[in-house]
Structure formats: C-alpha cells, structure tokens
C-alpha cells in the first residue's frame, strides 16, 4: 500500500461492517465510507476533476468531509482542507493560491464565498446524497501530492505545505508501528483537518480498520464535554495539543473519576506540556504518554515516550529522538542551543506555488542535545508563536488589522503561556476615529480563522519603538506581564 486512499478500500474488504468514522452527522462503516467515497469520486471526476487537480474542502468536521477527502484522492486529486472557522475571505485567499477545480462545501458557504471566486468555480454540496458509481481509474504515484495544509504566513498570505502520499505514509506507518494501532482501537480526532496532527488520527485509523471519532471546533476546548466524550466514546488513542488535555484536567473533572480502561495511549504535540500538569495526567492513567514534535512541513520528526524519570525533573519532557524514518540534527556548537534540521521521507515536497523543497528542512526551532541523544526544545529563532499548538505569525494578524480603515498602526504579541496564551493586539487609531472592540474583531473575523483573531484588543496612543525604529514587541509583551496595558 503506497497511496492513502488504498487504505479504506483494503479496510472495506477486511472489515466492511466495522465503524470507520463517527462525527456530528452520524457514523459510517468501512463499507459505507468506501461506497460513498467512490460515488463522490465519480461525481468529482464528472465535475472535471483530473489527477493533480486541487479540491478545496471548507466545512465543519463531519463524516461527509472525510468522505470528500477520500473521494478527492480516488479521483487522483489533492485535497486542501481548510480550517472550518476560516471566513470566506480567507478561504478565497487560499483558493486563489491553489486554484482548486472544485470547492466542496455547504450551500450556505458556497453562497458566501462565490462573490470572491472566479465565476467558473464548481461547487460540490457536501450534504448531497449521491447514487452509487464507480469512478474512472486515476493513476497516482506515491510521490504525487495527497493534500496541502495551509498555515499562517508572516506577510498575511497563508502558506500551502504540500505533502505527498509517501510523506504522509512515512509518518502514519511510524505511528501505527509505535502505537500498535489495530482494528479494535478508537482514535479521537481532536485537531482540525487543516492541522497536521489530524493525519495521525485519520490515517492511523483508516489504515488499520480502527474507528476515528471526530471532535468539532465547538467541542474542542469545552472541558467537561470533552472529558465526557473521551469516556463515552471509549477512546483508546488520544492525540491533541496539551492545552486540550490541561483543560480537561483543570476544569473538566477528568481526574475526579478513574481513568477509563480503554485509554491506552495519550499523545500530545504542538506546544510545551507544563510538567506539573503532565505529572497529574501520568498519576491518573496507565496509558502510554508520548510527546511528539514536528512542524507541518515535516509532520512528526521526533518523539519521546514519557518515562518515570522524566516526571522527576522540573522541566518539560524532551521532544526526543528521530521518528518517521527521518534524520534530525542540530548545527549549534556542543552544549549550546542550535537550530533543528530535518531530512527524510516525511519532509514536505515544498510550498504550493514555490520552488520544490530540496535538502534538509530548517525548523526555526532551537534545541539542545542531551547525553542520551534526545533533543530538548528551547525556543524559536523568529517571531512565530504558538497559541494552543496553532502556528501564529504575528505579521499575518497585523496584515489583517492594517486593512481596517480606522487603524493607523497595529502590533500583535502573544500574552500568557499554555492555557492562558492569547493573541493581544495593540492598535493606534487614525485621528478622530472611534471604534469598538467588536468592530475590530469583526474586521479580523472576516479575514482570519478564529485562532488568529486577537483575543484582546487594546487601543493605544502610540506603539513603543526600538532604537532602530522597529516596533518593540518585547516592551509590548512586558506591559502585558505587568498588567499595565493601556
């Protein structure tokens, strides 16, 4: 098996009646998912989708969305899953970049986005039942692209990370082997499909005949409900950003009842898991705990299984050693933090519309090497920040703020850490301009997915500058810590 969509066909033959996907719109068995994916692939082909074409998928998580992803691959196409919270304007920006043949969405969203797109754009309604059909055969090689994941770009234009079937398989095979995922497993899919974490849940399940249970955006950070979901659905493999786990621990009453016996592995990635909270988690469940690391461009390239001795230290657990068949190293002098480089099968093909990526990938993350060869995460070498695992380029948010007619100048910093992490915007209004917080948020909401919308907006008379005239972000972040933001 070298192509992602072969997995569901194979699982449908071996386990036709086992549940494949459960979402807000119900459940699909492998046989149903296989049939629907075929019907939709035929529909896509009839709509003009040819191998190598892009299929944009813009909708809240559902079985229908998973079906569309499989259908796109069966048609030989490349799917582009957008963050469901992305507004029409942002979705249109991505569409202009990747020029999809078809946009799969709901009728309401199609109406919303249509004015922003070429009038020739073909829309496919995700909710529409389709007659059974066999799609025309599409030749896809393992080095062909499977999906493009768009991530925050520093200039305000999202960047499309292009991943091939082989890229995805390098990680998925590693994950299946490391976790021994099998048909009895029930994986939670917490991350949005636009986020690389979701590749493990989806394909870890679909490649083994296991079940994947979708967590929608509204449920993703609701502590009590999320803890209930974990129990009721008898999840065996959980993978999310640490923030979601911490919320369940702190506010969801997760620890008030014994750990469900079904839970056998808890994986986390995307941000640092504070050691105190991790100790609580480890004290509650006997499940394996794994810290995974890797940017979207490489997916997981290092991993560390938490051991008893890691919990005795007063610092976060290491990000570990190479995974997914990759080679990782740092170029720094011994003992000093250096940038982490990655080479290997999980490294992306490149950014959409740019030159293909060649050679090692420089992560921008600073690490140190321990005596046992494991890496420890130190920090970033640029302005990129993480908010609950989501990569945030402040410049992306500032670019949106700068298009607001009442804003003369804006700077965005990340305030707080872990659960308290939030984007804070400091704006200088144009002379005589008056505006409310809602108007500025709304302006951002029309342009950015919700995770990029500033949680706080402060109006200031001027932004602090450094000696060379640049906006002094350190000073801005400092005013937040002192609680003296004006």
């Amino acid at each position: 098996m070298t192509r992602l969509h072969e997995a569901v066909r194979a699982a449908a033959r071996r386990h036709p009646d086992r549940p494949a996907v459960t979402g807000p719109d119900g459940s699909l068995t492998y046989a149903e998912l296989d049939r629907r994916a075929d019907a939709m692939a035929a529909h896509l082909a009839a709509a003009g989708v040819r191998p190598g074409d892009r299929v944009l998928i813009w909708a809240a998580k559902s079985c229908a969305v998973v079906t569309a992803m499989q259908a796109a691959l069966r048609a030989g196409a490349v799917y582009v899953p957008l963050d469901s919270t992305s507004p029409a304007r942002r979705a249109a920006k991505v569409a202009r970049d990747c020029t999809p043949r078809v946009v799969c969405t709901t009728p309401e969203r199609a109406r919303e986005i249509a004015p922003w797109l070429d009038s020739a754009t073909v829309f496919v309604n995700l909710g529409e039942p389709l007659p059974a059909a066999v799609p025309p055969p599409a030749e896809t090689g393992e080095d062909d692209l499977a999906f493009i994941l768009y991530t925050s770009g520093s200039t305000g234009d999202p960047k499309g990370v292009c991943l091939s079937h082989a890229n995805a398989f390098a990680f998925v095979r590693w994950a299946i082997a490391t976790l021994a995922i099998g048909p009895d497993d029930r994986l939670a899919n917490h991350a949005p499909f636009s986020f690389d974490l979701s590749v493990l849940d989806l394909y870890g399940a679909l490649c083994t005949g296991a079940a994947v249970h979708l967590v929608g955006a509204e449920l993703a950070y609701a502590p009590v409900q999320l803890a209930e979901f974990l129990r009721q659905r008898e999840i065996s493999v959980w993978y999310s950003v640490p923030s979601a786990l911490m919320l369940m621990l702190r506010e969801g009453g997760l620890l008030d009842r014994p750990a469900p016996p079904s839970l056998r592995a808890v994986l986390f990635a995307g941000e640092v898991f504070p050691i105190g909270a991790l100790r609580e988690l480890a004290g509650w469940t006997r499940a394996r705990l794994l810290n995974l690391y890797g940017p979207t461009e490489t997916n997981v390239c290092t991993a560390h299984e938490v051991r008893a001795e890691d919990l005795l230290r007063d610092r976060p657990v290491p990000i570990g050693t190479a995974a997914s068949g990759d080679t990782v190293w740092t170029a720094g002098p011994p003992g000093e933090p250096g940038e982490l480089y990655v080479r290997g099968p999980s490294v992306m093909r490149g950014y959409w519309g740019k030159e293909p990526h060649r050679g090692p990938y420089a992560t921008g993350d600073l690490v140190t090497v321990r005596d046992d060869g494991a890496f420890e995460y130190v920090g970033r070498r640029d302005a990129m920040a993480k908010v609950r695992g989501h990569r945030v380029e402040p410049g992306d948010v500032e670019a949106a703020l700068h298009t607001c007619p009442v804003v003369a100048e804006a700077a965005v910093v990340v305030g707080g850490e872990a659960l308290e992490a939030r984007l804070v915007a400091f704006v200088v209004l144009r002379p005589g301009a008056r505006t409310g917080v809602l108007a500025i948020k709304r302006h951002c909401a029309e342009r950015l997915p919700t995770y990029l919308i500033p949680g706080e907006v402060h109006t200031v008379s001027a932004l602090p500058r450094t000696g060379n005239g640049k906006i002094d972000r350190t000073a801005l972040a400092g005013t937040l810590r002192e609680g003296s933001a004006v």
């Binding site: 807000p24 809240a60 919270t85 507004p87 929608g216 955006a217 509204e218 449920l219 993703a220 950070y221 609701a222 502590p223 009590v224 409900q225 999320l226 209930e228 979901f229 009721q232 919320l247 506010e251 609950r388 008056r434 505006t435 409310g436 917080v437 809602l438 108007a439 948020k441 709304r442 951002c444 909401a445 029309e446 950015l448 919700t450 995770y451 919308i453 949680g455 706080e456 907006v457």
Partner: protein, 98 residues
C-alpha cells in the same frame, strides 16, 4: 426565562469578551462565531458560566456552530436543555408547560 437568559448571556459576553462593549455593539442576533466574538476557548468559558450560573450542562452532542451562532441560539438551547437553576425557581411558572 428566554429573555432573562438572553440578557444574562449578553451581559456575560459583553463583560468577558468585549471589554464591556462600550459602543453597545452586541445583540441577540450578532453572529458570535462569524464575527470572532466566540472561539473554541471562549465557548468553553461560556459553558462554565452556563453550568455554574444558569445550572445547565450542555452535552457534547449539542456543541455545534448552529447552537452557538448567536446569543438567541444559545438561550434557546439552554432553555430546551435545562431545568432552571435553584435561584431561578421564581421564574419557573413563566415557562410554557412541558
């Protein structure tokens, strides 16, 4: 109770997420998710308020963009799901018979 719940939700959202909303921009029909007033983390904060102050636990199956799109939608959901909290006992009689 509908109007009352709605009012309490509006006040809470104004106070917590809109710096008091001095321009009075928030209404029962304001698109909360679309306009970036609520994100997934703020939905969680709101759920805590609904649980602790309105006495209603929203099951995970009800957490959807449809139900959380506007204050009016949330108030409707809260009313449908819930017995009023004890300090709401006085307003029980104003509910339509079940």
């Amino acid at each position: 109770m509908q109007a009352d719940v709605e009012q309490r939700l509006v006040e809470f959202i104004r106070d917590k997420f809109l710096a008091g909303d001095p321009e009075g921009e928030l209404g029962a029909d304001t698109p909360l998710l679309q306009w970036g007033i609520l994100d997934s983390l703020k939905v969680a904060i709101l759920l805590t308020f609904i649980r602790e102050q309105l006495g209603v636990i929203v099951p995970f199956q009800h957490l959807s963009a449809k139900n959380f799109g506007t204050v009016g939608g949330i108030a409707k959901l809260v009313r449908e799901l819930g017995e009023p909290a004890p300090d709401y006992a006085d307003s029980v009689h104003s509910l339509p018979p079940a």
